[in-house]
């Protein structure tokens, strides 16, 4: 049963080795060429697509990288050899680890969020289109969609006011002689010379196309179909002045200026009016300043910040204590059932954690949960408030999250502690006993220090892991419960689940900028912990 940790056995060419040997040499070279050719074919297709989308910088990068890689794999230079082994992993590392990190940094210094996704030019034209409204006493037209001689969609229009008839295209409005068009009793065109009117089923299929169809008239005004028989003239309510880079509201002359934060704004403070949408722009340290200054962000952030540390520390401390206690209890030579106990106690570690978490969320459920029923309790495990009135920091949901995390992690520390305990030579504890040490004293002065040498680095690693243990929080409580209505931050949210909600799952729009700023803060903390760990274990020096 005592399987040794994996070590290299002496070399015996087994079946696999012989099978692999068959594919070496010329065959291996051919395999390499085939793989390289496949990769190049994939790139060729990518190049075609990139040209189609006119993504020139991306195209240049792809072509250059591919040429470089081909060259490295085909030249027999000694310096290229390590690269041949490193390139496959590095491509993915750069694409989906390094670039996301760099991208996170750039986003953190921008206002990238719902409502600030377009470029400024796109935002300006969107605002122009959005400002189109039917003016009072505007022109209304009877309309019949038709196709011209080349099959393109046009609108045959009859101005109800002046009685003139036109053909409208996406380029503009052209007058038609009255004799060329016949109208029915309601004024709707029924035929037009040179055009084929569209009827019935075909008309219904054009529904979406019609909805987006615009016939520009004078200035920024346009005709918009409303249904299939009527079109109305829309006029802009805002005018863009390119020279001054402002929007002017036509009705009251109010001026909307670029506020430097990606929006056209008029007025200040409470009475400020903002035009939708805004655009994406760089806003410097604004997101970080919001974390420090903006009371709406600062409050929840620092509460989450503190809880994240407490959560990670509590998980490690209690799991380690429980694991060590179990290990001490079971570390008795010749004890019966020792091995059976050990295998059963590892089960929580073997079940995929996401399943255990979801099941625990059910068992702890306040209303229907098994825990409350079996133990005849009435504890609001998942949705409750603070436990002690004098200590708002500790709430039932926070206790539950730690309890379940400890349940999940204890087996790991149990196994590790058991191994470490059994590697401590008996002579040491025997000697302490001879010197007259009590059992507890021996444990404190001899066993524990020796144990910590082996386990401390693992505790640091476990802390770093739990610091970002998204699943343990999100799958149990979803980060909740929520006290305020305006904030995204729940009582059990840790930094990473808060980031996730800011970016993806809020239902109140996404704030990629703030999410990325929080991500950078997480990065510095985790890097600090890892750096401390490296310094402690000096494992960087063992980079050989």
């Amino acid at each position: 049963m005592a399987t040794p940790a994996p070590t290299a056995a002496t070399f015996r060419p087994g079946l696999i080795a012989r099978a692999i040997a068959v594919f070496s040499g010329t065959v291996g070279y051919i395999i390499k060429l085939v793989l390289l050719a496949l990769a190049n074919a994939l790139v060729a297709w990518a190049i075609y697509v990139l040209i189609d989308h006119q993504r020139w910088p991306a195209l240049a990068i792809v072509v250059a990288a591919t040429a470089l890689i081909d060259w490295i794999y085909l030249v027999p230079h000694s310096w290229a050899l390590p690269l041949k082994f490193l390139i496959p992993g590095t491509i993915f590392l750069v694409g989906f680890q390094v670039i996301p990190i760099l991208f996170t940094i750039t986003i953190a210094f921008s206002n990238y969020s719902t409502g600030h996704i377009l470029t400024k030019d796109q935002a300006i034209s969107t605002i122009k289109v959005n400002s189109l409204e039917p003016p009072p006493n505007g022109r209304q037209f009877d309309m019949a969609p038709a196709r011209d001689s080349s099959g393109k969609l046009v609108l045959i229009l009859h101005d109800e006011g002046s009685g003139k008839v036109y053909v409208g295209t996406e380029k503009g409005l052209t007058r038609l002689p009255k004799s060329a068009v016949t109208l029915d009793a309601n004024g709707v065109p029924t035929s037009a010379k040179g055009y084929t009117l569209i009827h019935g089923a075909e008309l219904f299929q054009l529904d979406q196309q019609l909805e987006a169809y615009r016939v520009p008239t004078i200035g920024d005004a346009a005709l918009e179909p409303q249904g299939t028989q009527i079109a109305v003239e829309l006029k802009p309510t805002l005018r863009y002045v390119p020279k001054r880079d402002v929007f002017v509201r036509i009705s009251d002359g109010k001026v909307f200026r670029d506020n430097g934060l990606g929006s056209f704004v008029s007025g200040e403070g409470q009475s400020a009016e903002e035009l939708e949408p805004g655009w994406k722009t760089y806003t410097g340290f604004r997101n970080f300043r919001r974390i420090i200054n903006d009371p709406l962000v600062r409050g929840p952030f620092f509460s989450i910040f503190a809880w994240t540390f407490v959560f990670a520390a509590a998980c490690v401390f209690f799991s380690f204590s429980a694991g060590l206690f179990l290990a001490i209890a079971l570390d008795k030579r010749g004890m019966r059932f020792q091995r059976t106990y050990r295998s059963i106690l590892v089960i929580p570690y073997a079940i995929p954690a996401f399943l255990s978490l979801l099941v625990w969320a059910g068992l702890f459920n306040d209303d229907f949960g098994v825990v409350n029923r079996v133990f005849h309790l009435n504890v609001p495990w998942l949705f409750g408030g603070q436990v002690f009135s004098w200590l708002p920091f500790i709430s039932w949901p926070r206790i539950t999250v730690v309890l379940v995390s400890v349940w999940l992690t204890t087996p790991y520390f149990f196994l590790v502690s058991l191994g470490a305990l059994q590697s401590i030579p008996d002579e040491l504890t025997e000697a302490a006993k001879v010197d007259g040490g009590g059992a507890f004293q021996i444990f404190r002065r001899v066993t524990l220090p020796l144990l910590l040498v082996a386990v401390a680095p693992l505790m640091i690693a476990s802390f770093a892991f739990n610091f970002n243990n998204f699943n343990n929080v999100y799958l149990l409580t979803g980060g909740g419960p929520y006290t305020g209505t305006s904030s995204l931050a729940g009582n059990t949210d840790i930094l990473i689940s808060y980031t996730y909600k800011l970016a993806i799952a809020s239902g109140k729009g996404s704030d990629y900028g703030l999410a990325s700023a929080v991500a950078i803060i997480i990065f510095f903390i985790v890097a600090g912990i890892s750096g401390f760990s490296f310094w402690r274990t000096k494992s960087l020096e063992s980079l050989s």
Binding site: F11, K84, L86, I107, Y341, A515, T537, L543
Partner: protein, 319 residues
């Protein structure tokens, strides 16, 4: 191609805390009256450890969907929950039918985790071999850079990854949002992480003389890698693949950010949506699904448990 002279370095032992048990022979069987408290602790701990497991199993066979009716011994044991789940015929207590394509989720998860584990092991092994066997300019720098980059957990950049995949999908729809392939290639960004360090440590313990003799016989670096080092490293490759598999299977953040349509979800995301906020309605099918998903992984895990723990330990020490 025998250009690179691999220096023969002193074998740096892989950092594996001794988890070898039962190597010490018992001097004498301890009496029960001295060890009874140890048994008591163990039995109590087992009760806590198995508490949710018991309820998964019993609820899976219970005829009622209600969490509030969950019992240790179901009164009317039935396979209904399983058949509802496998035929996408989950009906909540309210009578509403829910779209729960469990087999699809299972398949998606196995595909994503399987492909990721396979590719991660391969890419990691290639990099580990280069760092273990070649002495080249920038090697130390490269390893330091890798360590530094890996400090940033990939899923922390979830906002950036979401936007990258969103934009990528605008050009290459096959690797855009809601595509399994996109999730796999994003996961592969971590392939040169902890696992590569674990393998490098192991490769370091394989005597360089073996490479040397193969090279004398005219083998190229690629032949030595595929023919000598990889077969010898088979156990560590298996462990790395399994760790990567379990880790990927549990991943929630990126999968839930990138995948959207019900049919494309992975098990964690799908089962979260199945059960969250309706514990009183779909508890039966949910536990059946949990049982089906947990069994294969748990058995495999228990089987390779010793190696996995030593692997995780070594990984966390090294990186």
């Amino acid at each position: 191609m025998t250009e690179v002279e691999a220096e023969i370095t002193p074998q740096s032992a892989i950092v594996v805390p001794a988890v070898a048990v039962a190597s010490k022979a018992p001097k004498s069987k301890p009496k029960l009256k001295d060890t009874w408290w140890r048994h008591l602790v163990a039995i109590l701990a087992i009760c806590i450890a198995l508490f949710p497991v018991v309820y998964i199993v019993s609820s899976a066979f219970n005829a009622d969907n209600n969490l509030s009716d969950a019992q240790v011994f179901p009164t009317n044991p039935t396979l209904n929950n399983f058949s509802e789940l496998l035929h996408n015929n989950v009906i909540a207590n309210t009578g509403a039918q829910q779209d729960v394509p469990y087999p699809r989720w299972f398949l998606n998860s196995m595909l994503i985790a399987g492909l990721t584990a396979l590719a991660t092991t391969m890419l990691g092994a290639l990099a580990a071999y280069a760092f273990s066997r070649f002495r080249f300019k920038g090697r130390r720098m490269g390893m330091m850079a890798l360590l530094l980059i890996q400090m940033f957990p990939q899923f922390v950049a979830v906002a950036a990854i979401y936007l990258i995949v969103y934009n990528l999908g605008g050009i290459f729809p096959a690797i855009g949002l809601d595509k399994l392939a996109a999730v796999v290639i994003v996961y592969l960004g971590g392939a040169m992480g902890v696992q590569a360090w674990l393998m490098k440590g192991f490769f370091d313990t394989i005597p360089a003389e073996l490479d040397e003799s193969a090279r004398v016989d005219g083998a190229t670096a690629a032949q030595i890698f595929w023919g000598v080092v990889l077969p010898l490293a088979a156990p560590v490759l298996a462990v790395v693949a399994l760790i990567s598999f379990v880790f990927t299977l549990n991943e929630f953040v990126i999968a839930s950010a990138l995948l959207q349509s019900t049919n494309h979800l992975t098990l964690p995301v799908g089962m979260y949506h199945l059960i969250s906020d309706q514990y009183d309605k779909t508890w039966g099918p949910f536990t059946a699904g949990a049982l089906l998903a947990a069994l294969p992984v748990s058995i495999l895990f228990m089987f390779l448990q010793r190696w996995i723990v030593s692997g995780l330990t070594a990984g966390s020490v090294k990186g």
